[in-house]
């Protein structure tokens, strides 16, 4: 059934359809609409779940960890400072191999206080052991949240479903909301790998000395390395039931492209518009939308980029010093490739500043004229 939904509510709908049992969250703009809707569902009985109104994001993740350890499907949502406050427990959730799903609405970190779109919050959590999936449309948000539960419960790792602040979280789009029976077919009841059980008492998350710790971490790495393969299977099953698929990356006009833009999130839509304009002028240019950031889909990226000459990366984030984070990942990905396209790194759209078609045209023009990438990421759209 198609309905016009806010991006945030696409998450809420998916969490309801997933028959999530425990939701624990703390408010932070621009994530609040997600959990407000879920509170409503719990209150009006359209969802059979317990909503814990915790006193911080740190406690939100801690209670998800408690509930998931006791063997039920859990959910939280956060943004920016809330996610940063959770940081310790993001490590804990992944280390405990708990299939927690979180919606992360990309928002800038202060100071100065800024509630708008920026990828620095989620990308700062890249080493916590969470799978990270970036979305572009409200439909993709709903679909990815359902897939996230399936994937998390196969590999026993937590998943962050990431969506742009306001551009996606507060924008209304037509969304096909699946019926419960179809979702139940795609996402069966949760069977936990290990749970707190009096019949078989065990200690979860206890002290692990040097003789054991390294193997535990290795098992997380093995699980993470298996994610891509499982994600493809999950997407295939999803497509069978719902007829939609996205892929770990979504290439557009890349087959003969001599230059390829790469980015995540809603700016991919804007970039496709710019690519159409450039194609009309005869430029061989394409765009890859990056959905999966952790684990990084190296094979897909290499296959798509190794024939091209220039890779143009747009980062709506900055690791102060090295610059754009996606650009660093792409350099690392392409280094092991036989072919080495040049990688041009651009930073724009921080703290909610618009990234327009004109910006992409400017970026393309600048890249076309350059023989080699500059050493540092180039900032686009700075005020003079």
């Amino acid at each position: 059934m198609k309905e016009v939904l806010e991006g945030s509510h696409a998450v809420s709908e998916a969490v309801r359809l997933a028959r999530t049992k425990v939701i624990s969250a703390y408010p932070i703009t621009p994530q609040t609409h997600i959990v407000e809707a879920l509170s409503e569902y719990c209150a009006n009985g359209s969802m059979d779940a317990k909503f814990i109104c915790v006193e911080s994001e740190h406690s939100a993740m801690a209670s998800c960890i408690g509930a998931a350890s006791a063997g039920v499907r859990t959910f939280t949502a956060s943004s920016s400072h809330g996610l940063a406050l959770m940081h310790e427990l993001l490590h804990w959730a992944a280390g405990a191999r708990l299939p927690i799903v979180m919606a992360e609405v990309n928002r800038a970190l202060g100071p100065g206080w800024n509630i708008w779109m920026d990828q620095s919050d989620s990308l700062s959590q890249r080493d916590t052991g969470w799978i990270q999936l970036y979305c572009e449309t409200a439909q993709e948000v709903l679909d990815t949240t359902l897939q996230a539960y399936r994937l998390a419960e196969i590999v026993n790792l937590p998943v962050m479903v990431v969506l742009d602040a306001f551009f996606l979280s507060h924008t209304y789009e037509p969304v096909d909301i699946p019926d419960q029976a179809s979702v139940d077919r795609f996402l069966p009841s949760f069977v936990p790998r290990i749970t707190l059980d009096q019949q078989n008492p065990n200690a979860i998350g206890q002290m692990a000395p040097p003789a054991f710790y390294m193997e535990m971490r290795h098992s997380i790495q093995m699980a993470m390395q298996s994610v891509l393969e499982h994600f493809i299977d999950v997407e295939r099953e999803f497509e069978t039931v719902f007829g939609r698929t996205y892929g770990p990356i979504t290439p557009f006009a890349c087959d003969d492209a001599e230059s390829i833009f790469v980015m995540a999130g809603t700016s991919a839509s804007t970039c496709r518009q710019a690519v159409k304009t450039l194609r009309d002028k005869g430029h061989k240019v394409g765009v890859i939308k990056l959905k999966m950031f952790r684990p990084f889909p190296y094979q897909h990226i290499r296959k798509c980029l190794e024939q091209t000459k220039k890779v143009i990366v747009l980062d709506r984030n900055c690791s102060f010093g090295p610059g754009g984070i996606f650009a660093q990942e792409l350099r690392a990905a392409m280094y092991a490739s036989e072919q080495h396209p040049q990688i041009f790194s651009y930073i724009s759209g921080l703290g909610g500043r618009d990234v327009t078609v004109d910006h992409f045209l400017e970026i393309f023009d600048r890249t076309e004229k350059a023989d080699h990438p500059e050493n540092e990421s180039v900032w686009i759209g700075l005020n003079p």
Partner: protein, 302 residues
């Protein structure tokens, strides 16, 4: 006249009154004379097997066993330092959703994890009146990390972060008053030297719905610099000097004092290495503080 109930209080263990089942296995790695282990032993005997423990970073995070062993015959969720209240809330919520209303969820945290870093999470859980039992075993400093001061460390004590003449010059936080202010259904103090009182309170707490809080005095021979065979005797003195009164608070307002002590606090202070540096004047000052706290407590119970 204060409201008191002394009839069940004795410092002796009447063997017939105690269950023979033990839920702690031999070979745990606590220090000799550890009061926190004695507290856990009696607590679990009172609570019985339908219990899930949530343990944050604290001595018990180690005592409960290093992978792949466990010293407890109960499921244990180890959780991050500041999270006991929230993690226990999550476990409770999951059990409720699974239809298990019988299991008692017990958060078992030290004083650092309760008075300090875990206080926000605990306060949040109390305000929501989460249905679990929170136990703070209080050894009055960060013992697991090597005896650093906490806000449960008493006035006058030396620790590794309040060393020598810089001994702690701030009073211990009154955690029961803080809990009572949340108007939770039950808060009580217990002491390992009074096991019958301890077990009665754990059994009582088990039957109450909502957030229950037990403040368990747990002597620490290592951190307090006392002989391990004096762990219980010194604990008893804490009650008999009114330094750690045994009392209960129902619904945040209804105070019952379980024991009236009358011994001078000096007897308690003089036999512990952590208080060795204190002068007679310091003893007198601490006696005044104890008297004042005791008057306030009796006022609440009257």
């Amino acid at each position: 006249m204060s409201k008191t109930s002394q009839e069940t209080i004795s410092g002796c263990i009447m063997s017939s009154k105690y269950p023979s089942t033990d839920y702690i296995m031999p070979g745990h790695v606590a220090c000799p004379g550890c009061g926190a282990v004695i507290a856990m032993k009696f607590a679990l005997q009172a609570l019985g097997p339908k219990t899930i423990l949530v343990i944050p970073a604290c001595c018990w995070a180690v005592v409960a066993g290093v992978h792949p062993q466990t010293s407890l015959k109960m499921p244990v969720l180890h959780t991050a330092f500041a999270t006991s209240g929230a993690a226990a809330s999550g476990v409770r919520a999951a059990l409720d959703m699974k239809g298990d209303t019988e299991t008692t969820v017990v958060a078992w945290a030290g004083d650092g994890g309760t008075f300090d870093i875990g206080f926000q999470s605990l306060s949040g859980a109390c305000e929501r009146n989460e249905n679990f039992l929170y136990v703070c075993y209080d050894n009055e400093a960060y013992m697991n990390t090597g005896v650093q001061r906490s806000s449960a460390t008493p006035y006058g004590a030396q620790t590794t972060t309040t060393p020598k003449n810089a001994w702690k010059s701030h009073r211990k936080k009154n955690i029961i008053d803080a809990m009572a202010a949340h108007r939770i259904p039950y808060a009580a103090t217990v002491n390992i030297a009074y096991p019958d009182d301890l077990m009665r309170k754990f059994r009582k707490a088990k039957e109450i719905q909502g957030t229950r809080f037990i403040h368990a005095y747990a002597s620490c021979p290592t951190g307090w610099r006392i002989p391990s065979d004096k762990a219980v005797a010194i604990s008893r003195l804490a009650v008999q000097t009114n330094l750690f009164p045994l009392y209960e608070v129902e619904n945040g307002t209804d105070y019952t004092i379980n024991y009236q002590g009358n011994r001078p606090v000096e007897e308690y202070l003089k036999i512990q290495g952590r208080f060795k540096h204190l002068t007679e004047n310091d003893h007198a000052e601490i006696q005044e503080m104890v008297n004042e706290d005791w008057r306030i407590l009796n006022g609440k119970a009257s």
